[in-house]
Symmetry: C2
Subunit: 366 residues, 2 copies
Amino acid sequence: MHHRTAEFREIFSRTLADLKIFIGTQNDVLLLASSGTGAMEAAVSNLTSPGEKVVVLSAGKFGERWRDLAKAFGLQVELLTVPYGETFDLGEVKAKLDGARVLFMQATETSTGARHDVKGVAALLKGTDTLLVVDAITGLGTTDFDVDGWGIDILIGGSQKAVMIPPGLAYLSVSERAWQRMEEAKQPRYYFDLRKERKSQVKGETAFTPAVALVCGLAAALDFIRRGGNGNLVDGRDALIHNAETSAAMVRAGANALGLKLFAPTCPAAAVTAILAPAGVDSSAIVKEFRERFAMVVANGQGEMKGKLFRIAHLGYYDYLDAIGVIGALEHVLQKVAPSHNFEIGAGVRAVQETFAEQFAEAVRV
Amino acid sequence: MHHRTAEFREIFSRTLADLKIFIGTQNDVLLLASSGTGAMEAAVSNLTSPGEKVVVLSAGKFGERWRDLAKAFGLQVELLTVPYGETFDLGEVKAKLDGARVLFMQATETSTGARHDVKGVAALLKGTDTLLVVDAITGLGTTDFDVDGWGIDILIGGSQKAVMIPPGLAYLSVSERAWQRMEEAKQPRYYFDLRKERKSQVKGETAFTPAVALVCGLAAALDFIRRGGNGNLVDGRDALIHNAETSAAMVRAGANALGLKLFAPTCPAAAVTAILAPAGVDSSAIVKEFRERFAMVVANGQGEMKGKLFRIAHLGYYDYLDAIGVIGALEHVLQKVAPSHNFEIGAGVRAVQETFAEQFAEAVRV
């Protein structure tokens, strides 16, 4: 399919309209042919001028990406860091804000499985001139956002997470305040120039050649999510989020029942659960055994956490079967690679089942 | 398939190695998750510092893209323009070079169907400090390059043209001189930071999430081209180029036999042929009739040429069937939308056949 055709324009425009519903915003939504990091760069290069002060909240590899991006664009970075696996104290965030033009954060830090308090941070920024940019690449479809109510100026999503298609597409919602800021922002930008994209995308086109096959895939994925809501995309999205929350609770319960420690116990994300390897065990061996014996892809830690933890995703097309399967397999994996770690065979899967039953009962009660 | 796996690393590394053969270079080759314009931006932001003098050769919409990119990055642009459909005088190019850090050009200008003299421009730059950057997005696989012999510092290709897969991937070869220049280049860059990409890609990884499905598609496309060369990728690529040259000659002959004027008669590209609509006829009507009656996608003019010409592509998976089919259909289209344009029915397809026979005879003689 050629992209300068009525056929593609129709699919593209419908996908943008569906994304607005999926994200839950009246703001403009734009699609970019890049991975999520490209949309992160777009937020930096479109909203800032060299030398300006910005705040970056960093508690993992993707927080560090905001930091590196802001530095690459010559910004004065006010960095708030907390250890991997933890989240931010709102008082400490507030103390950093004076004079900041933009605050950059993650909704969920994929490298640690931690969830950050976007609503709380947004409340601190209300009535100030500090714009709020949220990387929700793993957050969208796994957690609730009120983009317009809270005041998120740019919210970023990707294609390969909860919307379940291959990577290569990013999308972002852009508030009226953010469009205004762009008029004064002086960073060089071209491929990721959002004002130019908006001019094309309102007409169902893109400034540069779009990733046609991935756009068609995204259109189909949003239709699939809509069917999960019996024809209503908002209901489908909420079912997707509920599914992620339920799966995450099942995996956490299973890990706890096997005597394993969660890496982000106080602020767990629904997108991914990071679990510490037992003392003295390299998590790389756990990842390898999962792959070789069960053909299951479990991720290693990233950056400084490589070898120390493993991460189980539960976003998008992931359900009861996967949650009970991965915890069942984990029991066999631990027996093999962590023979001195004590646990009762079956305790993990039973905890998964009990958690499911509780969640289901709750759902019935509501 | 997850991208941080041995399985993907193997496919990715093999694809990079195949691309080096396909491009015909010993230079490093990198893949980017973006459309071709992203790789164009990478060339600008990695090789220059704000305020430097660069030369842009512009004879169409994509030449103007180089101009706009260079201006967006604060460069002092020495612009050599010639009218759409024409190409550059080497003497005029030479007169622009003094003090230029980089020269940016197209191999073939997709918007007009003109081919530019990359070899001639490269010869002018030999022994100077001016780097040569060539957008070969439609040039690769349709025309010959001697990247290392001529001295092309960055050559850019895309996924959706001669390699026949959907858009969303770009690739580029980078010379040792270009790597050295990057050490002093001061433009802000992050998503398209080539030095960071090289560090990852030599290990079969990417700095940011790659477009996994498109990389797998590209691997398969290069295998397909290799089979076209009986297992030899260079032979397959040369067959692809010969096929484009033959198809282009057939289409040009057909158009001429129908009394139509080529838009770039003195320097026609093998990737695409631009044909002027008969006097008084809007080319949009020709494009529309092709689509509605024959389900054939023929492109309109771009920019200022919209409505004045139509463009027939013949790159990649395009052969005798397509060339004779599109010229045959063109005869019916002209009868309908340009009733006062005189031509003999069948003259176009007969010219296509005669051209094919000549090409075939030549190939036999060689």
